[in-house]
């Protein structure tokens, strides 16, 4: 039996911890948690009881996160500079890393400061173009099938992988450029 009055007590912190590192700020995370509870309230009759309350709330939360990035994607695009892939374009080394843009700093095996890493990561997510960011987040949340993502953004499946490839290259490089290092 669902009991909305106990939701915040039972699941509030959990939902907040789930969303916090997936959106840019504390305030946005709080808003999304609130929207999730209200949206759950209005769709209580659809709760089938074959999953537990928390799983059901998390699935709503994920949709709210996607909605947030969907709205962002609709906003007027800022001037986002185009990204050139970090590989040689011709010659014998065509397709190989450009030496000055290959992965160098920050040690992936070392322990990281999640708070600090997240700040840099969010900054780097913000330089992706909004459509690319929406695709990326939908993949990260693992909530939508590839065909759904393609339909939502109006792209082909090959495009989806090209976008993900680009996005991941860009984010990795950005984190390095913004000077993230394990020593900080």
């Amino acid at each position: 039996m669902l009991n909305p009055e106990l939701w915040v007590e039972k699941h509030g912190d959990y939902l907040y911890a789930y969303v916090r590192y997936k959106v840019p700020s504390k305030e946005i995370a709080e808003d999304i948690v609130q929207e999730t509870f209200l949206s759950a309230l209005s769709s209580m009759k659809h709760f089938k009881g074959n999953s537990n309350e928390r799983t059901w709330l998390i699935s709503i939360l994920k949709r709210r996160i996607i909605d947030y990035y969907r709205k962002e994607a609709k906003k007027k695009e800022r001037n986002i500079s185009s990204y050139k892939l970090p590989f040689e374009e011709e010659g014998a080394l065509k397709g190989h890393w450009l030496e000055n843009r290959a992965p160098h700093s920050w040690e992936p095996d070392a322990e990281i400061n999640i708070d600090q890493f997240h700040k840099v990561l969010q900054l780097c997510l913000s330089i992706l173009n909004p459509k690319q960011r929406l695709v990326f987040i939908m993949k990260i949340l693992d909530e939508s099938h590839n065909d759904e993502i393609c339909q939502e953004v109006g792209i082909s499946i090959n495009n989806l992988w090209t976008i993900m490839h680009r996005a991941r290259l860009q984010i990795r490089e950005c984190i390095e450029k913004k000077g993230y290092s394990n020593e900080n």
């Binding site: 009055e5 509030g12 912190d13 509870f37 065509k94 190989h96 095996d109 990260i140 984190i175």
Partner: protein, 104 residues
Amino acid sequence: MKIKKTMISWMDRVILDCKQTTFYTVKEIDHGKIPWLKKLKYKTHLSYCSHCKKFYKQTKKIDAVLKITPEELEKNNRYQLKLNTKTKENIVKQIKKNQNYYNL
């Protein structure tokens, strides 16, 4: 240097270059399907290319931070995330208000 370049270029024909390797790295991390022969070629490239290996590990790490679960955060005392009391009270108020609206 010239010999090295020729060697790399020859190897790419048999194996894959870094651009293709990072493409399959992303596909693997994001649960895409990779044909077995491509997978073999891509794993072989990863075994000798330090840049691509680092790309793989760093990308995995970024993915892990974005997908971190509340349970994992809970284990680490430094990163426990909690809603503040005022926000909680506010949400409860909103729920109560809306509960009446939905006649619950």
